[in-house]
């Protein structure tokens, strides 16, 4: 079938993009040398180190961040039955930002920042889930709880920034919040890799079931789905993906919102095809953007700024397409 070929193509798309990303940079490397470095062939030691120790960890992190944000975004849009939802909605981003800011203020070490950001993101969602569960666990209630938590945590983040040293800590926080992968080191990859492995394999295996969560609660119950526990499990797994990505990359906007829609435009809304396509497209896109971020200018451009610049016009295109498909706004 044509569509399944497209899904396969999108899923494999990150591989050539990553290979190309390994070649470019301030020190260009030929395809042959990249290949040799990757396969343990004969190549100068400095090239091997550059490919395997410097570029590969960052590109690998970019691929995982992209796949995580895209898959979690696609999942959230289904669970909340709302095509405009992404991870930010549940308080993941503001929670992670607050965690990172606190770490910069109290224990400014990269590993601590990452751990605090992850914990903050998870805490944001836990608060949202707790509030939502208390009020019955419906979709609307969860969205309202998410908005509340996000707004509250953002205010606390503002407080932390206000208290931070404007010469040292505040710029560090601000730069982190802009998002970027320039600081990625090999040890950062382990927690990201584990969280992504668990979350991505869970969703890729359970992908068809996600369709059922787009139904009204009662419809899904009638099909034998235990809606509330399923919804919370799925939101929890999505949070694992977003929080682990954000803890490494900082805030990278738009990917979680746009990539799922772009993938839907190509392979349709069925999660059985959508999730692999979104994972591949998200990974390829963030690797490509991060490559631009580190090569476009002499100085590094924050990745979050690039995704934002690209995101808004792309969103407009997708939105117009969506309007045409639905025959107007209702």
């Amino acid at each position: 079938m044509k569509r399944s070929a497209l899904v396969g193509g999108l899923l494999l798309l990150p591989l050539p993009v990553m290979f190309f990303a390994l070649m470019v940079g301030r020190y260009p490397i030929s395809p042959g040398e990249v290949f040799a470095a990757l396969t343990g062939g004969e190549v100068a030691e400095v090239v091997r180190a550059l490919v395997l120790r410097i570029r590969l960890p960052r590109i690998g992190a970019a691929a995982l961040v992209g796949a995580n944000l895209a898959v979690a975004g696609a999942v959230y849009q289904g669970v909340f039955r709302n095509p405009l939802v992404e991870g930010r909605l549940l308080g993941v981003s503001s929670g992670a930002g607050l965690g990172a800011a606190l770490a910069f203020l109290l224990f400014p070490q990269p590993a601590v920042v990452q751990a605090f950001a992850f914990a903050g993101g998870a805490l944001g969602v836990a608060l949202t889930a707790l509030l939502g569960w208390t009020f019955g666990g419906g979709v609307l209630v969860l969205v309202i709880a998410g908005v509340l938590v996000d707004s509250f945590l953002s205010a606390v983040l503002g407080l932390v920034k206000y208290a931070a040293d404007p010469l040292g800590t505040l710029p560090a926080i601000t730069y982190w919040l802009l998002g970027g992968l320039s600081g990625v080191r090999v040890p950062d990859l382990l927690p990201l890799g584990i969280a992504s492995g668990i979350g991505l394999s869970f969703f890729l295996l359970a992908r068809w079931r996600l369709n059922l969560l787009t139904l009204a609660d009662q419809e899904a119950e009638a099909l034998g789905v235990r809606v509330r526990p399923t919804r919370f499990l799925v939101v929890g797994m999505g949070t694992l993906l977003v929080a682990s990505a954000v803890s490494v990359s900082g805030t990278v906007s738009w990917v979680g919102l746009l990539v799922p829609h772009a993938a839907r435009a190509v392979v349709g809304p069925d999660y059985a095809r959508l999730l692999p396509a979104a994972a591949g497209l998200g990974a390829a896109l963030v690797v490509a953007l991060d490559t631009l971020a580190r090569t476009l200018l002499t100085a590094e451009i924050p990745l979050g700024i690039l995704t934002g610049l690209l995101g808004a016009p792309l969103f407009l295109v997708l939105f117009l397409r969506f309007l045409r498909e639905r025959g107007g706004w209702r």
């Binding site: 289904g78 139904l215 009662q218 069925d270």
Partner: protein
Amino acid sequence: MAVRLRAGGLVYAYIPGRPVLRGITLELRSGETAFLLGPNGSGKTTFLDCIGGLRPPAEGEVLLDDRPLGSFSARERAQQVGYVPQFHEPPFNFTAWEVVLMGRAPYVRWLSQPKERDRRAADEALAALNLAGFRDRPYYTLSGGERRLVLVARGLAQGAAFLLLDEPDAHLDPANQHRVLLAVQEVVGEGLGAAITSHSPNNALLYADRVALFSAGEVLAQGAPGEVVTPPLLERAYGIPFISVGDGPGPRAVLPADQRPTRSRNP
């Protein structure tokens, strides 16, 4: 041997102390179409939810062939009782076939995908309702009647012994009401049991094997359509007088008796 879905003494209240169902005893049998009539708020839809296992009753119980429905797992229950909602508003533009395939949820394990047998069941359900041509049509592009038929097909794909339909004739033109209810009659002819809530007594006369007339959380009358859909009983349920027309051979219909003669005859 007919399968029976039996409600005994069902009581249900959304607000404590104000029961919407006040002890309903009613039996559905496979191979029969039962219409549930009654005014708005009389408890028809709540009753449908209760016998579908979607709301646990406060008192009384639902038995599927003598086994309490509450003792079924959600998955087991969904393999026995299917539900066709009045509306289905997907946030994404699934195709008709993808919507119908979701009916196979009770047969697809967690962490696995629909198998060949599930895909075949979805195709067969579409074919059974003469919808094969709509297979790859996006749901948003379907008309109201086509959407309703797709939802019936999803219920069929669920492979359940009973289908519960919440006002399948609402918001449809007469031709589409006829198509949908005829399609239900056809699948009932193949051995399914159907329970249909409706606001149309005449549809009950045309398509029901049995009718239960609800009023204020109780069953006012149940039995053959000809015995229940009568002016005196309808007046007790709905609070306005009815007349019966076409009492000779051929189909009969009921109409409100108060036809406003003064205005149409003396303008």
